[in-house]
């Protein structure tokens, strides 16, 4: 068990211009924490993980595991175990040999290896398959062997690089819960990379969002959802994505389709003191509701209704300035509006509106 910290760690790939795959990453992971690195592809999340594993050089800054600086330590000296996206099982070894390989290299006595492999296999429900070769296993079983290979070593840090992306949707949800429970039980510091924000939100104690190699925000899933630090995080976290539109400012609020949506005083004054005439206005689909005819609301033409059972997502066009923008509203599943119908929508509460700087994307609300 150990804490992990990245201190100004960068990875620069040669080229013209050089690509800063991970740029000045500062991140502290507490002992026993489950931290998820999330971001779109090319955001540097896998590179950041590989830097910690020692598979990728650290060009600037340092990386520490425990209190030890491991920046220039080869992978085998770092006491880490990694689960690869492709699992990378040794095809010529049996499941038991795969799981015990690291221990064998370390010179652990055979009886002890056998014991530990059996223990991990029991934990992962692999006991029956110990003598099989990986090619005789299903995708889910292979994934568990890859997990087992990591567990057997009792490392101080687990590194997981999109370990679920090759599983089918149902198995993924199941395995997701299993991994989270396993981590809870073992209490091993875990860094988990995914591009799937649902995985990130459900599994991580904290989630670090990366974009273009730069850390955008690192916080608990709740905080990321409620107070995204910038427009990118706001749009990336949450499904369906937040409605993010640039709208002109009025003295009391934001101007949408001729009406003024009231904003919180602090946010408004922050925007006004920055001298902005327009802001990026963000509101989650569930923070919008259908308004009754008498109420003041924003006119929207329904273009698409996605029924999810418990609720429905209504996509529609709203006039902003001269153009029209698409909004998504989460409504009660039993009474969704019809396609092509004109409805009125309203913000549930002014406190649920997020305001961002239109150029920098920084959060204006607090």
């Amino acid at each position: 068990m150990a804490e992990v910290s990245y201190v100004g760690a960068s990875r620069v790939f040669a080229g013209s211009p050089p690509v800063r795959a991970v740029d000045q990453l500062d991140l502290d992971v507490a002992d026993g924490e489950f931290l998820v690195l999330v971001g779109p592809s090319g955001s540097g999340k896998s590179t950041a993980l590989r830097m910690l594993a020692g598979l990728e050089d650290v060009d600037e800054g340092t990386i520490q595991i425990g209190s030890k600086d491991v920046t220039n330590v080869p992978p085998k000296g770092r006491d880490i175990a990694m689960v690869f996206q492709s699992y990378a099982l040794y095809p010529h070894m049996t499941v038991a040999e795969n799981m015990g390989f690291a221990l064998k290299l370390r010179g652990t006595p055979k009886t002890q290896i056998k014991e530990k492999v059996a223990e991990a296999a029991a934990m992962l429900d692999l006991t029956k398959y110990l003598d099989r070769k990986p090619k005789a296993l299903s995708g889910g079983q292979r994934q568990r062997v890859a997990m087992g290979r990591a567990i057997v070593r009792e490392p101080s840090v687990f590194l997981m690089d999109e370990p679920l992306s090759n599983l089918d949707a149902k198995l993924r949800v199941e395995t997701r819960a299993n991994i989270a429970a396993l981590q809870q039980r073992l209490g091993t510091t875990t860094i988990y990379v995914t591009h799937d924000q649902v995985e990130a939100m459900t599994m991580g104690h904290r989630v670090a969002v990366l974009k273009d190699g730069i850390l955008q925000q690192c916080d608990t899933p709740r905080a990321l959802y409620d107070k995204p630090a910038n427009a990118f995080v706001a749009g990336f976290i949450g499904s369906p994505a937040m409605n993010l539109k640039t709208v002109p400012l009025a003295p009391e609020g934001a101007r949408l389709d001729g009406i003024v949506v009231p904003l919180e005083r602090t946010a408004l004054s922050a925007a006004q003191s920055a001298g902005l005439s327009s802001v990026t206005f963000g509101v989650r689909p569930e923070s919008l509701r259908l308004a009754s005819v008498e109420e003041e609301g924003i006119d929207m033409t329904v273009e698409l209704v996605e029924e999810l059972g418990a609720d429905a997502l209504v996509h529609g066009a709203v006039k902003i300035g001269d153009g029209s923008e698409r909004f998504v509203v989460r409504v009660d599943g039993r009474t969704p509006p019809q396609l092509g119908q004109n409805v009125k929508i309203a913000v549930r509460d002014a406190s649920e509106v997020h305001l961002f700087h239109p150029e920098t994307g920084e959060r204006l609300t607090d």
Partner: protein, 307 residues
């Protein structure tokens, strides 16, 4: 081939049309099989002819010619060839040359292939090209300088009492290794490129050093390529006559290929005997092929990654 021919018609045409189609299929199938049989026969003819000749006596073919029905068939030529040509001794010589040469060639070329494919360094492509280009040198061109070089290289007396590399089996082994390494490196490096990089990365994280990655992860996965190469190399080195005849001068150090020429008289050659000798000499290659055939299995890396 036949599977495509057996495929049922996709749209069901009228009965007459269907008949026409089956007729066409049958005709094309007959043509195909005729062609295949013809090729097989042309391919096998020299071998079968050798077997046939080896089973006849010299007197028989001398009287009736080779294109005739035999008066009797006998295995006596084989026994005679075995003794006359002193085959056991030469078989041993060949093994002493071939087996170390094949093993060392595969070992060295797999080292090079591992180095150039699993690590990225400045000159790895250049190095691979160098090894591959070495293949292109024609042996006949460099034989003279090599001959002179071999004469100048000293070896301890217990290897060769003349104390030169020339006229030693060691020299022959070295020249085979040098000449075959290029091809083997080329094949092995291409094979190793197909092994996913994650496997070596996983091994590194598991704590394997470079040698272990090579020996315990990469090499076992190269088994099909190594098996195929071992067979090819064995056959090539075994069949070598050129290097042996130039670089070895003492008769009893010669490999088996030269022993065959012992069956040839100066004024007269018993071709039936020679045929029997040739067949005997060919046997080890077949043995090696069948022994290593099990290794030519595809899909060895199957299962390392996603389902």
């Amino acid at each position: 081939m036949t599977t495509t021919l057996d495929r049922p018609p996709v749209n069901t045409p009228g009965a007459g049309e269907r008949e026409k189609k089956t007729a066409r299929l049958r005709a094309s199938r007959i043509a195909l099989h005729t062609f295949l049989i013809a090729v097989c026969l042309v391919w096998l003819a020299p071998l079968l002819w050798t077997v046939f000749a080896s089973l006849r006596t010299y007197e028989d073919t001398a009287a009736n010619g080779y294109f005739s029905l035999p008066s009797e068939l006998t295995l006596s030529n084989f026994g005679k060839a075995w003794e006359t040509a002193d085959l056991p001794n030469y078989f041993w010589n060949t093994l002493v040359i071939t087996i170390p040469a094949v093993i060392v060639t595969l070992l060295f070329s797999s080292f090079v292939a591992f180095g150039v494919t699993r690590f990225s360094f400045r000159f790895n492509l250049a190095l691979l090209m160098l090894f591959t280009a070495g293949n292109l040198l024609p042996q006949q061109v460099i034989i003279t300088p090599l001959y002179r070089l071999f004469r100048l290289i000293p070896v301890p007396e217990w290897i060769n009492y003349k104390e030169t590399l020339l006229d030693t089996q060691l020299g022959l082994i070295l020249i085979h290794i040098a000449f075959q390494i290029g091809f083997c490196t080329f094949v092995l490096s291409n094979y190793m490129k197909t092994i996913p990089n994650e496997l070596t990365e996983a091994a590194r994280v598991d704590g394997a050093g470079v040698l272990r990655q090579y020996w315990q992860v990469i090499l076992p996965l190269c088994r099909p390529a190594l098996g195929a190469l071992a067979t090819l190399e064995f056959t090539w080195i075994y069949n070598d006559f050129f290097w042996a005849i130039v670089l070895i001068q003492t008769g009893d150090k010669m490999p088996i290929t030269s022993a065959l020429s012992n069956l040839r008289g100066q004024f007269f050659t018993d071709y039936n005997l020679l045929a029997a000798g040739s067949l005997l000499v060919a046997i080890p290659c077949l043995v090696v092929f069948f022994a290593l055939q099990r290794q030519f299995v595809g899909g060895l890396t199957l299962g390392s990654t996603k389902g």
